[in-house]
């Protein structure tokens, strides 16, 4: 009888061993990257382009959206993919807003006296407040009627006023991190 109790105790212990093993493979985290491309040409001193991006169209987001419990901003960068002429000097400004042109600004970054050329890249440094606003928008996506749309603007200004054609093509890359249960 004593040995039977030992067997039962061991069986229960082994089962508990498993239950803790079960939980290990439920929690996941995944990065969700996306890119917004801007392009504009001008004969004056500044370029401007705006785009909207719906995260709901992102393949990674589609795969995991129903399982996400926490969503946060991780990193953002820009990468110049083409210029006319080969090198320009000016001020680069990037703005990302909620939803559309009238939406709340999620972040704004300005890079002054920048040499703009194909391959020029830099990382955005957001303040803690900007990150909090961004993260609150991401979290709201999972509440009822939360929007998944971002609106972005790219401006290159203070270009040389020589009347010649200038063109800038630049990608804004964003990386988000999602956590949840599978």
């Amino acid at each position: 009888m004593k040995m039977l109790k030992l067997i039962v105790s061991f069986s229960v212990l082994a089962s508990l061993f498993f239950v803790t093993g079960c939980d290990q493979f439920e929690n996941f985290s995944v990065n969700v990257p996306f890119t917004v491309s801007f392009a504009d040409s001008t004969n004056s001193t500044h370029t401007f382009d705006s785009k909207t991006y719906d995260l709901a169209n992102n393949s990674m987001y589609q795969e995991y959206s129903e399982k996400i419990e926490d969503f946060e901003f991780l990193e953002a960068s820009f990468f110049v993919t083409g210029t006319v002429p080969d090198t320009l000097t000016g001020t680069m400004e990037f703005t990302v807003k909620q939803n559309d042109q009238t939406g709340t600004i999620l972040f704004y970054q300005r890079f002054t006296d920048v040499e703009v050329y194909n391959g020029k890249s830099d990382i955005f440094v957001l303040t803690a407040d900007q990150i909090e606003v961004f993260n609150n928008y991401l979290k709201a996506m999972h509440m009822s009627s939360g929007s998944t749309v971002f609106y972005g603007e790219s401006v290159v200004s203070d270009l040389e006023d020589n009347g010649e054609k200038k063109k800038v093509e630049v990608d804004l890359h964003l990386l988000l991190k999602a956590k949840g249960k599978l």
């Binding site: 040995m3 082994a14 089962s15 061993f17 996941f28 990674m60």
Partner: protein
Amino acid sequence: MKKHLVPIIITILSVFQTLSAGVDDVLSFISKENAEGYLRPLATSLGLGLNSGLYHTASVSEKFSFGISLRASVMLIPDDHKRFNPSTPDGYVSGTTSTIFGGEPGYSYGSGGYVSYPGGFDVDHLPLAFPQITLGYKGFELTSKFIPKQELGKDKSEFYFYSFALKHELSRYFKLLPVHAAVQIGTGKIKFSEQLEFNNMVFNGIVSKKFGVATLYGGLGYQLTTVDVNYTTTGDPDNADPSLHEAKDISLNIRGDNGAGVTFGSMIKLAYFVFNFDYTYNSQSVLSTGLSIEF
């Protein structure tokens, strides 16, 4: 015993279902080049788990013997099994990123944007337990553990596993040996899901020495575990990794890191009841214990 085995088996299936669902979900966005590094530690763990608890003595009865036991093992995952060096697209450079046992997902940055690698499940140890049956006669002992074919989860994924090992006591031919010695060969398979199937072989050399009701035992073993991986990537034309732009059927074979290892253990036998505990040194350390009824 059956009353206690059924809930154990149900719990085992739940673990594998959760593990299977977790793995299946992350494979959709892994390139073929990175699937191997990501999954290899899992192949190692499951191979080590399947090969654990196959013996607790080198001695085999001359008369017919039968035993039924419950075996539990835990594989301890070292830090170097939680990271691997991913393959990156041209123009990208990356540090290490997480394996299936690692933590945060990694990423690298280049002209095409952010290339993301899957995160792991933050696993420090992987526990497994199995019921096991042994049959012995005239120096030969067959050990078997298995779960028959099951359909798990909403998509009814097929799951089963089996493991058979045949041990032969060599010391029965050398009566003057101060210890018992045996050799053992085993094979097994885990059909994990529609995407993963593990195949396994093991060769063990075993020695043991009895001290009253206690026995000390040890073994040198060599394991070969491979996993056949078949999955389909989700085509993502916007992905910064060109190899993930189109949906692709991926097939590869991954070999685990569980090669040679050494085991030390002890067992206590009181009447028909046997309790044992052992430690295996391999690329992942394994702690194993078992409770048996042997006739």
